[in-house]
Subunit: 96 residues, 2 copies
């Protein structure tokens, strides 16, 4: 049954070490997931890129970057003010 339809195929990258997110991605691919999206905002964006690169270069050479999107999200600041934060989505695909 279409394992690639699982809904847990989004990995939100935050402030933990890169290897945590790499492990999450590798585990999901090994479970049969074909598509994984790595998402991050603000300063975690570079860590999201690191995650994708480490997965591809060190663990799964058959994983490709299918698409990358950037955007801006409006968050509410501490005083109820609006803050714009950049975001990234990296779409990884493993088709074998």
């Amino acid at each position: 049954m279409a394992k690639d339809k699982l809904e847990d195929n989004i990995i939100y990258v935050g402030n933990k070490p890169v290897m945590n997110y790499v492990l999450a991605a590798v585990t999901q691919f090994n479970d049969g997931q074909k598509d994984i999206t790595i998402k991050a905002r603000g300063r975690a964006i570079s860590r999201a890129v690191d995650t994708a690169e480490v997965v591809r270069n060190r663990f799964m050479q058959d994983v490709k970057v299918k698409d990358i999107k950037i955007g801006t999200e409006e968050l509410e600041g501490e005083k109820g003010d609006k803050i714009n934060v950049s975001s990234i989505e990296i779409f990884l695909n493993r088709s074998d």
Copy 2:
């Protein structure tokens, strides 16, 4: 004569404030440049995304993200060791 062939259309994003790079991009587009590439490595990657987003959202709504590429570059560390650093290239296009 083909202004879009100018070779100064790469903006390297480092540790300066985002607005420095935004200004560089806006200036080049205003000088007639059609394609600009924003490049960054390591932690500056999130600043590169900020640069692209601020250019598009606040200054030039007709600028589109044409493509985004990520990669890994091998740098030499302080002790002559090899360090892998993630990189990003954001290709912006303004066609009017």
